[in-house]
C-alpha cells in the first residue's frame, strides 16, 4: 500500500506547471544583469576555509564534512601545530647550554624520553638514554668552561653535579644489567664507550679550566668536582668492561671475544696514556717554575737596595717552595709512570693469554696508580698557580726566546711583571699546565 501510494505521489509531479520559456529566458537575462552589477572585482582573493569544506562536501555529505571532518581537521591541525612547535623548540633547545632560556626545554625533553622509556618498560633504552644524557652534561660543561666566564662557574658546577647524578644512575643501571639474565653484554659495551667519551671530555674540561685566565676558589672547587666525576666515569667504564667479560664468560655472544679484548686493551692504553700525560705535565711545570725561579732570583739581585727588595724576596721564597713541590711531584709521577707501564704490560700479557678477568684487574690497578699520580699533579698545579695566578708562556714564532708573563698580587703592593726569559723553554701546547698565547711584548717592565 505504502509503495503504491508513494508511486502515485511521485507521478503527481508530472502534472507540474511549467513556466513559459519566454519568461524563463527574460528572467535569466534580468537576473544576470542584476547580479553582474553587484559583483565587485577582487584583486586579492582571501583564503576562505569555507571553500575547502564546500569542496569536500562535493564528495562527502555536507553534514558529515561539517560535523566530523571539520572538527577532526581542526584537532589534527592543533595537534600538528603543537607537535611541530614542540619539535622545533626541542631541536632548537638541543644545542642550548645551561643558563640559556631554551635549556629547560631540553631537559624536559630528556625527562620525557626517560619517562616514555620507563613506561614502555624499555630498560636498555632507558640506560642508554642516561648514558647519552651524561655525555651531553659533560659536553655542556666543556662548552661553558671554554667560555672563560667566571659568572658561569656556578652553572658549570651545577651541570657537573647533574652529570654526577646521571653517572650514578648509569652505574646503578649497569649493576641491573649485570644481575639481569636477559641483559646483553652489548649494553655494557655501549656504556663503556659512553663512559670513555665522558672521561675524555672531562679531561678536556680540566685543561680548559686551567687555561682560564681568571681563576677563583669556585673554579678550583669545580676542578676537584670534575676530577671526582671523571674518576666516576673511569670506574663506570671499568665496571662496564668487567660486566662485558662476565657476560662473555657466561656465554653471551652479543659481543665478540675480540671486541671484549679490544675494550680491555683500549682501557689499558688509555691508562698508560693518562700516566704519561700527567708525568709530562709535571715535567713541563717543573721546567717553567725553574725558569721563573732563575729570573726572579736575577730580579731579586737587581732589586737589592731598592724598595722592591721585600716584594721580590717574598715572591722568590714562594717560587722556591713551589719548585720543591714540583720536583717532588716529578719524582713521584716518574715512579707512578713506571708502575703504570709495568701493570699495563702485565695486563696486555694476560690479554694475549685470553685471561680476560685478570686483565680487567690490571685495568683497575693501573687506574689506581694514575689516580694517585693525577692527585699529585693536580696539587702541584694548584700550588704553582697559587704562586703564579696566571702563567702564560708567550711563544714567538721561532720558539727560541720565550716570554713568561707573570701577574701577581701581593698584600703590600700590586706588582705586574713581564719578564724576558733568556733561557729557552719549549713548552708543548697540549699539556694542561701551560697556556700558550701569542704576544709580541717581550720588554721588561716593572709596574708599581
Amino acid at each position: 500500500m505504502s509503495r503504491e501510494l508513494i508511486r502515485q505521489l511521485k507521478s503527481l509531479k508530472h502534472a507540474e506547471i511549467k513556466p513559459s520559456e519566454k519568461w524563463l529566458k527574460s528572467n535569466r537575462e534580468l537576473l544576470l544583469s542584476q547580479i553582474k552589477n553587484t559583483v565587485i572585482p577582487k584583486e586579492n582573493t582571501k583564503f576562505d576555509f569555507e571553500t575547502i569544506w564546500q569542496a569536500l562536501s562535493i564528495f562527502l555529505p555536507y553534514s558529515f564534512v561539517h560535523k566530523v571532518v571539520r572538527p577532526v581537521v581542526v584537532v589534527l591541525l592543533m595537534v600538528g601545530m603543537g607537535i611541530s612547535s614542540w619539535v622545533v623548540a626541542a631541536s632548537a633547545s638541543s644545542e642550548s647550554l645551561p643558563g640559556e632560556w631554551l635549556y629547560p626545554a631540553k631537559r624536559v625533553t630528556e625527562a620525557t624520553q626517560v619517562i616514555v622509556a620507563d613506561v614502555v618498560g624499555d630498560t636498555n633504552g632507558s640506560t642508554l638514554l642516561h648514558a647519552e644524557f651524561a655525555k651531553r652534561r659533560a659536553e655542556e660543561t666543556r662548552d661553558i668552561v671554554s667560555q672563560n666566564d667566571p659568572d658561569k662557574i656556578e652553572i658549570a658546577a651545577k651541570t657537573v653535579s647533574d652529570l654526577k647524578d646521571e653517572m650514578e644512575t648509569v652505574s646503578a643501571k649497569l649493576e641491573e644489567i649485570k644481575a639481569a639474565q636477559d641483559s646483553k653484554a652489548e649494553m655494557a659495551q655501549n656504556i663503556n664507550q659512553n663512559a670513555q667519551e665522558i672521561k675524555d671530555v672531562l679531561k678536556e674540561v680540566k685543561v680548559n679550566l686551567l687555561a682560564n685566565t681568571v681563576t677563583t676558589t669556585d673554579s678550583d672547587d669545580l676542578s676537584v668536582q670534575i676530577s671526582e666525576v671523571k674518576n666516576l666515569a673511569k670506574d663506570t667504564a671499568v665496571r662496564a668492561v668487567e660486566i662485558m667479560v662476565e657476560k662473555h664468560l657466561q656465554g653471551d655472544t652479543s659481543v665478540s671475544k675480540d671486541d671484549v679484548k679490544q675494550a680491555i686493551n683500549d682501557q689499558l692504553q688509555s691508562a698508560i696514556k693518562d700516566a704519561n700525560e700527567l708525568k709530562q705535565s709535571v715535567d713541563e711545570v717543573n721546567k717553567v717554575i725553574g725558569a721563573v725561579k732563575t729570573e726572579v732570583n736575577v730580579l731579586a739581585k737587581d732589586a737589592k737596595g731598592t724598595d722592591l727588595v721585600s716584594t721580590t724576596q717574598a715572591l722568590s721564597d714562594k717560587i722556591d717552595a713551589a719548585s720543591k713541590q714540583t720536583q717532588a711531584a716529578v719524582s713521584s709521577t716518574q715512579q707512578f709512570n713506571v708502575v703504570a707501564g709495568k701493570t699495563v704490560d702485565e695486563g696486555q700479557t694476560l690479554l694475549s693469554q685470553d685471561n680476560l678477568a685478570s686483565a680487567v684487574d690490571k685495568i683497575k690497578e693501573v687506574n689506581t696508580v694514575t689516580a694517585q699520580s693525577e692527585k699529585i699533579t693536580d696539587d702541584t698545579l694548584k700550588a704553582v698557580q697559587n704562586v703564579l695566578p696566571v702563567v702564560a708562556v708567550a711563544t714567538d714564532i721561532p720558539a727560541v726566546t720565550s716570554t713568561i708573563v707573570i701577574v701577581t698580587t701581593t698584600p703590600s703592593s700590586s706588582l705586574s711583571i713581564i719578564l724576558g726569559v733568556s733561557n729557552t723553554v719549549k713548552i708543548a701546547t697540549s699539556t694542561p699546565a701551560m697556556i700558550i698565547s701569542s704576544t709580541t711584548n717581550s720588554t721588561n717592565t716593572i709596574k708599581r
Binding site: S11, L12, K13, A15, I17, R28, Q54, S57, Y62, H66
Partner: protein, 193 residues
C-alpha cells in the same frame, strides 16, 4: 551521489571561489522550473509565482555573496521560496485583515484547489490521482508540506530539514505520520463512496 547533485556542488564551489555569474546562471537553469512549480502550487497565480521565483534567485545570489553556510543549494532555494510564499500570505492576510499574523503556523500556505486543474492530460488514472490530491488537501499543512516535498518534489530528507528548519529525525517522523494519515484519509474516502 547523482550526477546532477555533483554538478550542482561543483557549480556552487565555482560560484563561491570566483563569484562567477555564469555559474549562477547555470544553477538557475537547473532549478528555475522546479522552484516555479513549487511556488505555483502554493500561490496558484502565475504572476505571483514568477515574481517569487525571481526574488528567490536574487536572494540566493545575495546569500552566496555574503559567504553564508550553504548545505544544499536546492535546499536553500526551496527554503527561500517557502519563506517568500509565507511573506506573500502574510501580506495578503494583512490586507484582508481576516487572518492572524502572529505565527507562521497559523497561515495556511497549502495548495488549495490547484492540484485538480493542474493535473494535466498525461495521468493514467485521473480519478485515483484526484483522490490523492483531495486527501492531501484534507491533511494538516505540516504533513502535506513534508509529503509533497519528499515525494512530489523528490527532495532528500536533509534538504527538507533545511527548508523547514527542523531536524532530519523530526522530518522522518512527520513523513511517516503524514503517509499514515494519507492512507487513513484515502480509506475513509473509499468507505464514504
Amino acid at each position: 551521489m547523482s550526477r546532477s547533485k555533483f554538478s550542482e556542488k561543483l557549480l556552487l564551489l565555482k560560484l563561491r571561489t570566483t563569484e562567477d555569474p555564469e555559474a549562477f546562471a547555470k544553477l538557475y537553469d537547473i532549478y528555475a522550473k522546479r522552484i516555479y512549480s513549487f511556488v505555483f502550487f502554493k500561490v496558484s497565480n502565475r504572476e505571483e509565482a514568477e515574481d517569487i521565483t525571481s526574488e528567490v534567485f536574487l536572494k540566493a545570489w545575495r546569500y552566496i555573496n555574503e559567504k553564508k553556510k550553504i548545505e544544499s543549494f536546492s535546499g536553500l532555494l526551496y527554503r527561500l521560496a517557502r519563506n517568500c510564499v509565507i511573506d506573500l500570505y502574510r501580506s495578503k492576510s494583512k490586507q484582508k485583515e481576516t487572518l492572524s499574523i502572529d505565527t507562521e503556523m497559523t497561515i495556511e500556505i497549502g495548495d488549495s484547489g490547484k492540484w485538480k486543474e493542474d493535473l494535466g492530460e498525461n495521468m493514467v488514472n485521473k480519478l485515483e490521482m484526484q483522490k490523492i490530491v483531495e486527501a492531501l488537501q484534507k491533511m494538516k499543512q505540516e504533513y502535506r508540506e513534508v509529503v509533497t516535498l519528499r515525494y512530489v518534489d523528490e527532495l532528500e530528507v536533509s534538504e527538507i530539514a533545511e527548508i523547514t528548519g527542523k531536524g532530519q529525525i523530526a522530518i522522518r517522523v512527520t513523513l511517516h505520520r503524514g503517509l499514515k494519515k494519507l492512507k487513513e484519509l484515502l480509506k475513509e474516502n473509499q468507505a464514504v463512496e
